[in-house]
């Protein structure tokens, strides 16, 4: 088993359009669908933003501010998938597309809007693909170990439109994490052989991390496949006594 870390998990934020908390998501207790408030974006910056961008901004805004702007790692399995569908429909029907919508179509749209909103020139990257949660965690922890400063990891996805025929959840879900040095839970990553029990939806994985981080007991969460036949696992230590 290969391990990476530890690093401190300093803070956690979670949002689901269909669940009031990570615990509710794990219990399957749904609420009336709710949209994020994404208050970090004001005025014109809010226009044309997609649900996945709003989700990212919501959970990023839910983390405590740091003295120094963190380095940012964003992760998303599907990216701006609803915007992609809208743009294709635009040019198919009208032979033109909305410039505002196109400008916000790239996977790093949340990253760009967040850096403008927080006036942060810190580096930012965006991890994507089917293993975005695992790869995002790996990127964030390695960056935090390198940089000697706080790293913010934000993971979010919106429902994939039916036309794409994807096997994805019909909910919007996001979680953000502050990683670095300081007072927090020790978080370590481990690469271990993959088992069938590792398969879980992004909602389940993010809820398990957020719920685990909110409890005092040690917790282990399979984050997803990181290389052929191997799973990346997050290991949270027992909460240190006050």
């Amino acid at each position: 088993m290969t391990t990476v870390g530890p690093i401190q998990l300093l803070a956690t934020s979670f949002f689901s359009t269909h669940h009031a908390s990570a615990a509710d998501a794990l219990a399957g207790t749904e609420r009336a669908p709710a949209l994020p408030a994404y208050k970090l974006l004001a005025g014109r910056a809010r226009r044309f933003t997609s649900l996945v961008t709003q989700l990212h901004i919501e959970v990023c805004g839910g983390l405590p501010p740091d003295a120094e702007p963190p380095i940012n790692v964003f992760a998303t399995c599907h990216g701006e998938i609803q915007t992609a569908e809208a743009l294709i429909a635009d040019f198919h029907a009208n032979a033109l597309v909305s410039s505002a919508r196109f400008a916000l179509s790239v996977h790093n749209t949340p990253s760009g809007l967040y850096s403008v909103a927080t006036a942060s020139t810190a580096p930012s990257t965006t991890i994507t693909g089917a293993n975005a949660i695992a790869a995002g965690w790996l990127e964030a922890v390695l960056t935090a170990l390198d940089a000697g400063r706080t790293v913010m990891l934000s993971i979010a996805d919106e429902p994939v439109p039916a036309a794409f025929k994807a096997a994805a959840e019909p909910v919007g879900v996001a979680a953000a994490f502050l990683l670095g040095r300081g007072r927090g839970r020790a978080a370590q990553l481990a690469i271990r052989p993959r088992t069938e029990q590792d398969d879980a939806s992004p909602l389940q994985v993010l809820a398990r991390i957020a719920d685990g981080a909110s409890r005092e007991a040690a917790a282990t969460v399979a984050l997803g496949q990181i290389q052929p036949g191997a799973t990346l696992e997050l290991q949270l230590s027992q909460d240190a006594p006050a």
Partner: protein, 405 residues
Amino acid sequence: MSGGHVITDAAVANCLGTDNRTVFERAFAGPGTDADAFAAAQAFYAFPFSTALGIMPADMGPGAGEDRLACTATRVARIALASVRQLLPAVRAATGRWGAQRIAYVFASSTGGLEETERTLAPDPRMPVTSAGYQYADHGIDATSAAIAQHLGVQGVQMAISTACSSSFKGLASAIRLIDHGLADAVVVGSADSLCRTTVFGFHSLGLLAPTATQPFSRDRCGITLGEGSAYVLVERDTSETRRIAHARVSGLGAASDAFHHTSPHPEGLGGQLCMRQAIERAGLGPNDIDFVSAHGTGTLLNDASEAAAVARVFERSIPVTATKSLTGHTLGSAGLTALVLAIESLRRQAIPASLRATPVDDRLGVTVIDKLTSARIEHVLINAFGFGGSNASVVISQANAVGR
């Protein structure tokens, strides 16, 4: 960056050609030769406006033995494989050195398989769906990753990065981290983007497409020429063995955000300044050690002005600048690595490729644009890749045996 990182092989394919030899011959031919490889946009699709595009040659593949790969039906996969097949012998050699599980695969792209999705959701008789039946797995940025990694025989960590036009340099940075932290000894870093209707209509909607071939840093510049292509590098841990076969060294990387506007560059190129300075410093060099800058150089009024301002602030001297997008078109997520592979060839040839159509150069920009093929002593090159979201990255590459100050 801790330790050293060398590039033991590199491959590129774009509108100039489907293999390194052809691309390099044309890129280093200079103006007035057949370097100009752009076509009218209507060669790709019946767009209701005029612009040029850098379209891959029709004979790009798949090549022998590649059609068994599940992903080869899509355009972006065929574009990626044009580079992958060139890199295959070096990857096999690296597998012998390190073992398949110690070689990671990091892929970067801006649009991934979007072109295949367009064929399904916006059907056009001239653009039939190329796969046996549309599946979402063909759409994502990482749609080709598992198949190509398997084709290459690598079994290490797999990641996909998408930060618009800086994607491939962010991927390179991730690769370096994997090596530095002992999670890999070698990383195949790949990038590919295909032309697609969304990006052509999209950049047109922003008023950023040049009606004719792009003219970076020219007084007459009026926009981007979009292109498609792939670029791959094999980055390995620096050892006496890998240094002996290395084409170049990755000396320094820098990254920063503009924090200014989502699509418009900072007027003074703030993020560009920060990441260029960081890359040079991490290389253990000073600005005077850099022999030329391979600019992001998209050919838009604002982008070139912003980048020129940043270059002027960082170097405080006349430094040669070239814009390889005048040769390849803007290959989006693949742009950084495309320029990097051409810079490796600059190290080998000791020559700077010409920035085509740069004359008359915009004197107000204050940069020294290389408008003809220029021989020079070249030891260190700085390459920029800037993108939407104010996402900026710079890389310094050096002769394999070069050392910092």
